[in-house]
Symmetry: C2
Subunit: 509 residues, 2 copies
């Protein structure tokens, strides 16, 4: 067996272990009885220990090194490059720092919960301070390119190769123009009625509608399922096994509908990765791709581009509602009072608000940009923790025009920082940017898409995504893939164009 084949087999073993942990985590959120918590923690710890031993073993390092001097084709070289990336990440942090991050993060998260509930930033501040320090230490261990900044090392964990400066150069014009678009809409006096979103929608009917949509858009239910959890998520659990969750609010059906489509977007990416396929090894032999970077997702940004495309570009579009109108009205009797256009407009209302996770398509990215600027300054040491609330509220007023009433509705709202997720937020907006840029290309290549969606046929879109995005795994970095597919580097224009055209249409401007 070639070293390359051995390396892939090693990866397969690790991926199988990881898939077991993923099932345990899924079960914990869905069906595990409360009393099983302690035992579940033991099970997870056992697997985490095994996983750590495998993925940081000298054997693995030797295999990677051996492959680096083998004669390989482009695809195999990309595969080894990504194995190297993961191994270095895994071995660059001293064990003491990993443990300290886990321990402090766990406590900080508990403190954050109370602090948010009691609107008490002062209680959280010393813990946030610790997490910023530890994250800076982590970044220093990872290192970053000359000319870059500490923050780059953190961003790189979630969005390989992305740099803060480059992200800033896209976010800056986007923020300014989005702010003025939002002002134009909200001051137009033409806000659509939200009555269609408030019809009574029984949970079982919402579930039936969600399943109807999943089947239509092409999420493979023979290789996946949909359950209910407090916090919706998608878990690409194992080859042939991708699980989505959602939650139902009987007085606001778009929450579950778009939540389900969002997770299905992630899910169809997972299902589109070549986990059940093989690729050519150095000797021409067929090598299973599962467990190698060739069957893994590129970055959080690209993952999010898939979820946001199905949720927003598809699901909040007029053709989609032309198709779904009948079925939705069959499920929710009161919806029959509204026509396609009224529903389409109602699910696209733009309204500045304080909480990111409840934000609409027009304001969402402003929430993200705020966080990007602030966390970048905290990591650089340019913003002291004590100044965070003031900086947050000032910037929020600039971007969204609202006065933040308290820190619970401001800088205390998200869990991320409490356990050290610095560099994660920007991937949400990168996802929207990638989605819009892909979407522009897709619209040019497939002029008949609206007509297909109106008939409930989404297959051409999914097929294109499978071929152009999903099928490559981690062979290309996100930026490279974007240029390959759209013939341009990532930029803010496509997202701005998409939002301006659509939202002006919604508001009749």
């Amino acid at each position: 067996m070639s070293k390359y084949a051995q390396l892939c087999a090693h990866g397969r073993g690790s991926a199988t272990l990881k898939s077991i942990s993923a099932l345990l985590a899924w079960d914990q959120e869905t069906y595990m009885p409360r009393g099983g918590g302690d035992a579940r923690a033991e099970q997870m710890a056992l697997l985490a220990g095994m996983m750590h031993d495998r993925t940081s073993s000298k054997d693995l390092g030797d295999l990677i090194a051996a492959c680096e001097s083998e004669s390989l084709d482009d695809q195999q070289r990309a595969c080894v490059r990504e194995f190297r990336r993961d191994y270095d990440k895994q071995t660059k942090l001293p064990k003491s720092l990993v443990e300290e991050l886990a321990r402090t993060g766990s406590k900080a998260q508990d403190v954050w919960k109370d602090a948010r509930k009691n609107n008490d930033f002062k209680a959280f501040a010393p813990w946030l301070s610790k997490m910023v320090d530890l994250s800076r230490q982590k970044a220093t261990c990872y290192g970053f390119e000359p000319g870059g900044e500490v923050y780059d090392a953190l961003l790189d964990e979630y969005e390989p190769n992305a740099k803060a400066r480059q992200v800033e150069s896209i976010f800056k014009p986007l923020g300014e123009q989005l702010s003025s678009l939002v002002r134009e809409l909200t001051e137009s006096g033409k806000t659509p009625s939200d009555a269609p979103t408030k019809v009574h929608a029984p949970k079982d009917r919402q579930h039936a509608l969600g399943m109807y949509v999943l089947r239509a858009i092409g999420f493979d239910l023979n290789a996946g399922r949909l359950d209910v959890t407090t916090h919706p998520f998608c878990e690409g659990l194992a080859p042939g096994d991708t699980r989505l969750t959602t939650r139902y609010d009987e007085r606001y059906f778009p929450g579950a509908l778009y939540g389900t489509m969002h997770e299905a977007g992630h899910g169809m990416y997972e299902q589109g990765l070549p986990k059940c396929k093989t690729h050519k090894g150095p000797g021409g032999d067929a090598i299973e791709s599962f467990g190698t970077p060739l069957a893994d997702s590129i970055s959080l940004g690209i993952h999010e581009s898939q979820s946001r495309m199905w949720e927003n570009m598809v699901g909040r579009g007029r053709p989609f509602w032309k198709w779904l109108h009948k079925e939705a009205c069959d499920q929710f009797a009161e919806l029959g009072k509204f026509d396609v256009d009224e529903i389409y407009r109602a699910v696209n209302i733009v309204r500045p608000s304080f909480i990111r996770v409840e934000a609409d398509e027009g304001t969402y990215n402003l929430h993200v940009m705020l966080r990007f600027g602030i966390e970048r300054a905290m990591i650089a040491g340019d913003l002291s923790i004590g100044d965070l609330p003031g900086a947050w509220n000032e910037r929020f007023k600039q971007l969204l025009g609202l006065d933040v009433p308290d820190d619970a509705h401001g800088c205390l709202q998200d869990v991320h920082w409490s356990f050290g997720l610095f560099g994660y937020f920007p991937t949400y907006t990168l996802g929207n940017l990638y989605a819009a840029q892909f979407w522009e290309t897709i619209r040019q290549r497939m002029p008949g898409l609206d007509a297909e969606f109106t008939r409930g046929d989404f297959s051409q879109l999914l097929q294109w995504l499978n071929q152009n995005i999903h099928g490559h795994g981690r062979r290309y970095r996100a930026g490279e893939l974007c240029e390959m597919v759209t013939r341009r580097p990532l930029e803010s224009r496509p997202l701005l164009d998409y939002l301006s055209v659509k939202l002006r249409d919604v508001y009749g401007l």
Copy 2:
């Protein structure tokens, strides 16, 4: 840390691995999408390999040996004795035989499925022959006591220390007297009406009733749950996490009701084992019991005694129906036409039939005894495989008075032999025997039980089982426990007395 504490910690690690496999198996039967099958097989194989390495490791053998020469109290000695038993069982079989049993058993099971469907014993015969041979080889590796027989070594896997001859000495009088009791009942002309069992019972109503019963009898739903599968089972998955399954037939509600109570009986045994408790180590230190034999179940027979007691002694009793009548009639409107006595009699009808898993309480043990006699003769070489159908049909006529129409309704009906479960069948009747003997003792000690059941209070019974049966884990062997609790060795009289009194009452004889 004492060697004893190290041994227990080793056991805990293995038990945690095993609990992970158990979740994977549970998920496979309940929620796994079809497409996840191949990946699940990989996950299971990975865990099985790790498990095998751990439980047959030289380290473990050395630890056990070291403990055997430590100064220990009775409880600790029993614990080490059982660790030794498991280790010897694990290491006595050569790897080649284990693999051959798994491989041949898997193929034989496929052949059996078709053979049963096509009523084609000849197709199955050569595979059954192989499985008998391999099982005999396995028994020879395990060994058996002087004066015993090869079959003892197989029986011992499921019912430690039980001997075929002793089982026979109990089964023989039981079989004769049960046969004549069944004849007396069926020829009495007083068979009750089965109309109450045939009322329309919607699945969701059956589920609600099942949950109502689970809560009342004391199955802890904070530490367990109930789901739906094709074949009902109970999985004592991990400390604080015991899962039951059932299935619903809208035209026969007793199937799910008694199936659920049966699995709950297993489940309450699992919940009653001291998995979340500690016991005293040699230095007086507190040692977690989970993963040691002190928190494990004794035998299949004792496990089955718990499921059958709740299903039959409790659930098919008149006091139980006095309590459940109102709730059951609220759930199934048509049941309101029948009074307590009519329902009680309907769920206790005795009617000889061909299929074991559908048999009533009066005839069930006759099915088991038939299999015990036949498999014992096959293993001993006293019955050739070709003669199996004839022997089956002849003995069936003697015991149950019916002419077997074909092998699908005869010797081909059970899956057990196809994958080498020889020695398993008798534990079903041992379970009924233990249940009846425990029950007799319980009735003597708790004269107010009927009144409590009528009020829906089952707590005194559960508490007694917790203390006298569950809490000991594997400290005592089944026979010992029986003598401790009932002051007599296991015998056939209590089961015969229980069935005669109850069934004559049901038939008004």
